[in-house]
């Protein structure tokens, strides 16, 4: 299992793009928002938390189809499926690798982007915490979507259509937590809900992803 | 005959219009596809029977 994780991380590094692409996309979103809504710093401060969450979500979405499609194309998935690893472990590792290459860099660099968006000082800790809690759920849900569309030739758009509705609860609680943090309100309830969703998806969704992947490998 | 709908006539009439149009389109599409598929299947079945 560790071998699979190391291989996926190594591939992400070698292919270039793996680590950097999501971050670069995030940076572009953050740069474009002021062009769209105007440069008033009080307005930016008010929407900063929401924009950063949305940017993180889109950056995640961007790289979802790579989670399984490459292994599907070169036959690795067939071989992995006949290897002594349970399919549930394979999809969990894939999701973890996706989180390490996409989600974690976003969490780490979120304060920098917060600076660009004029995020009020009180908001940094809740923002980083909410991203840290929420982005694993995004990766796990995204892996489910990737498993559903892995055999399709033009799966990219369909993948977004399938995954985005599933992202709604995570986005709502994550952005709510960050927003409440900015306004200095109590963040306990959304934080617990967000943590609950993340734990629930990590615990249960790999079974659905594995079932779907088995069907697709038939 | 027409009831007096007052100042909301537009809203009421347009929602009835939208809904009825949507329902009619849905029913029409379902029936159209049903007859088409039924006919295609009959064609294929008779052809398959003829060929043995």
């Amino acid at each position: 299992m560790i071998a699979l994780l190391i291989r996926d991380l190594r591939l992400a590094m070698r292919a270039g793009g793996g680590f950097g692409l999501g971050l670069a996309f995030f940076l572009i979103v953050v740069t474009l928002v002021p062009f769209g809504v105007g440069p008033q710093s009080d307005l930016l401060a008010r929407i900063a938390a929401g924009i950063l969450w949305l940017g993180a979500l889109l950056a995640c979405l961007l790289s979802l189809d790579r989670i399984l499609a490459l292994d599907w194309e070169d036959g690795s998935l067939d071989l992995l499926a006949t290897a002594p690893l349970p399919m549930e472990a394979i999809v969990s590792i894939k999701a973890l690798a996706h989180w390490l290459t996409t989600g974690l860099p976003l969490v780490l660099f979120a304060p920098v982007f917060g600076l660009l968006m004029n995020l009020p000082e009180a908001g940094y800790k809740p923002l980083v915490l909410s991203l840290l809690l929420g982005t694993p759920a995004l990766s796990v849900i995204g892996t489910f979507g990737a498993a559903l569309t892995v055999g399709l030739k033009r799966g990219g758009l369909l993948l977004s259509l399938l995954v985005l509705p599933l992202y709604v609860p995570t986005l709502i609680f994550g952005a709510e937590m960050a927003r409440r943090g900015v306004e200095g309100l109590d963040i306990t309830t959304p934080m617990l809900m967000l943590a609950g969703i993340t734990c629930g998806t990590i615990a249960l969704l790999p079974f659905a992803s594995a079932a779907v992947l088995r069907v697709n490998l038939r | 005959m027409m009831p007096d709908l007052g100042k909301y006539a537009e809203a009421v009439l347009s929602s009835y219009a939208v809904s009825i149009v949507l329902l009619v389109v849905l029913v029409w599409l379902s029936v159209w596809r049903a007859t088409r598929v039924r006919k295609q299947l009959e064609d294929i079945e008779s052809k398959v029977k003829r060929d043995g």
Binding site: R14, D74, D78, T82 | -
Partner: protein, 205 residues
């Protein structure tokens, strides 16, 4: 018997393609499946490998003893030969890749990225993967595609060495592999008959 197939019927896309197949594979034995394209050899191998459920009949084998190699080799172009092999060895719980490297004469290539190999070299690497898994029953689908005559001979000798160690192999191919000891199984006669017409039940036929 390491692999026992009895009265197996397989389906592709919900339609039966081959039916009533039975054979046994003994330790040290090899079976070569022959038949025209599209008859269902790949489906048969995938069913035996456990990637898809059989339509009916039984496949009896220890799933921990099978290793499957399909049309694609599952190689990563950006990883070196060594990294590719070590990865598959670790997935199957092994560490040693030297034997595989030696059998397929890949010592000169170990540090080269797999993407830089020629088609034949890639195929050899894909077959070397079988050795590092340490599993006794090889299930191979067209293993000699894009191999030249020398490489085919190399492949045959690798299979022979595997059989000599008590392993077994089930191979689908069109060409003569130069494995006279292998048993031939023509799958053509097992082709499924079309279903009865008016029997319009769960299977829609």
């Amino acid at each position: 018997m390491v692999l026992n197939v009895s009265d197996l019927t397989i389906a592709r896309g919900g339609i039966k393609v081959l039916e009533g197949i039975s054979f046994d594979l003994a330790p040290g034995g090899a079976i070569v499946l022959r038949g025209p394209n599209g008859i269902g050899k790949t489906t048969l191998l995938r069913t035996i490998a456990g990637l898809q459920p059989p339509h009916s009949g039984r496949v009896d084998a220890d799933p921990e003893s099978l290793v499957y190699a399909g049309h694609s080799d599952g190689l990563k172009a950006t990883l070196t030969v060594e990294e590719n092999l070590v990865f598959w060895a670790q997935v199957f719980g092994n560490t040693d890749i030297s034997k595989a490297v030696k059998s397929f004469q890949m010592a000169r290539l170990v540090n080269r990225p797999a993407g830089m190999l020629s088609a034949g070299q890639k195929r050899r690497l894909g077959l070397a993967r079988l050795l590092v898994t340490g599993r006794p029953v090889w299930i191979l689908d067209e293993p000699t595609v894009s191999l030249d005559a020398d490489a085919v001979a190399m492949f045959a000798s690798a299979v022979r060495a595997h059989l000599a160690r008590g392993g077994s192999a089930l191979i689908a191919t069109h060409i003569d592999l130069g494995l006279p000891e292998a048993e031939m199984l023509e799958v053509g006669p097992f082709r499924a008959r079309a279903a009865e017409l008016d029997d319009f039940d769960e299977a829609f036929l």
